[in-house]
Point group: C2
DNA sequence: GTCTGACATGAAAGTGCCTCCTTGTGGACT
DNA sequence: AGTCCACAAGGAGGCACTTTCATGTCAGAC
């Protein structure tokens, strides 16, 4: 850990050394840490979805963001996009085996967050009370 | 899942309903998904650190980013900051029980990433070859 | 012709993280 | 005075994500 290094480049290539798992964690967070990706993953964990179905299942996401998000997930190999030559055209998205392998971790993170939500909220309130000058929300 | 909703506000308050674990996952990613937080957590998992020790242990992080990052982690209750009235002044940081409770998940994410790094790399190369017009890296 | 559904894409503006550089505080030392 | 150590904070610019709005393609229906 103390020997960790990340050469910060545009694509954030992890160093890949086994003794540097932190590089790995940065990589996965870069991959799913954006606003919408993990929500897409969670929705697809429930089964294959057409574009509109997927959009309706994720509150607040625009057509644009959904298109960009699923494209990135597809590029990373987490999602499969299938185009049907129907009229009107239809596209479906589903998790790959790789994408599915991430879902149990996502579930655990969600559980952790729910388990500790109140504690974190109290901590924030306490901190803000003690540091009224610090605007870091 | 399909009833999920996130009211996107500046502070991203999760809805907190048990049937909406995705709100939880967004919350935790907001918390540790930035570039440096998880690296700080990983470094502190190895033990208490003074500021400079922490900075040296995380390659590439500036004094400024470290200050901001530990401040946010402290606010969330993941890290304890202890000031020693020495000359020169000294500060130490260590994980709280809450912060520590996250480390095994972080480890799992890191492992997942290392396990699948090659697969993802290949997927990207394949995707880029098939979609030369898509600049989405 | 227009409209619809389904989905992709382009353009521009807004936002905030991140970086770089600088300054500050409090001692101690030369 | 200057320099050092230890750490915090200010200011400004860059960049990418995000959002909004608009446009595009392809058929089919009217």
């Amino acid at each position: 850990m103390s020997d960790s290094h990340i050469q910060v480049t545009a694509s954030l290539d992890p160093c890949g050394l086994d003794e540097h798992p932190d590089c790995g964690i940065r990589d996965v967070l870069t991959r799913v840490g954006d606003k919408w990706s993990v929500l897409v993953i969670v929705e697809l964990a429930s089964g294959i979805r057409r574009f509109r179905e997927l959009q309706r299942g994720i509150d607040g996401i625009s057509q644009r963001m959904l298109t960009l998000t699923v494209r990135r997930l597809e590029r990373d190999g987490l999602v499969t996009r299938t185009v049907y030559p129907t009229v009107p055209a239809q596209v479906t998205y589903e998790l790959t085996a790789l994408g599915s392998s991430l879902t149990h971790l996502v579930k655990q993170l969600a559980d952790w967050s729910l388990d500790h939500r109140e504690t974190i909220g109290r901590s924030r309130a306490r901190y803000d009370a003690q540091h009224p000058d610090n605007e870091i929300h």
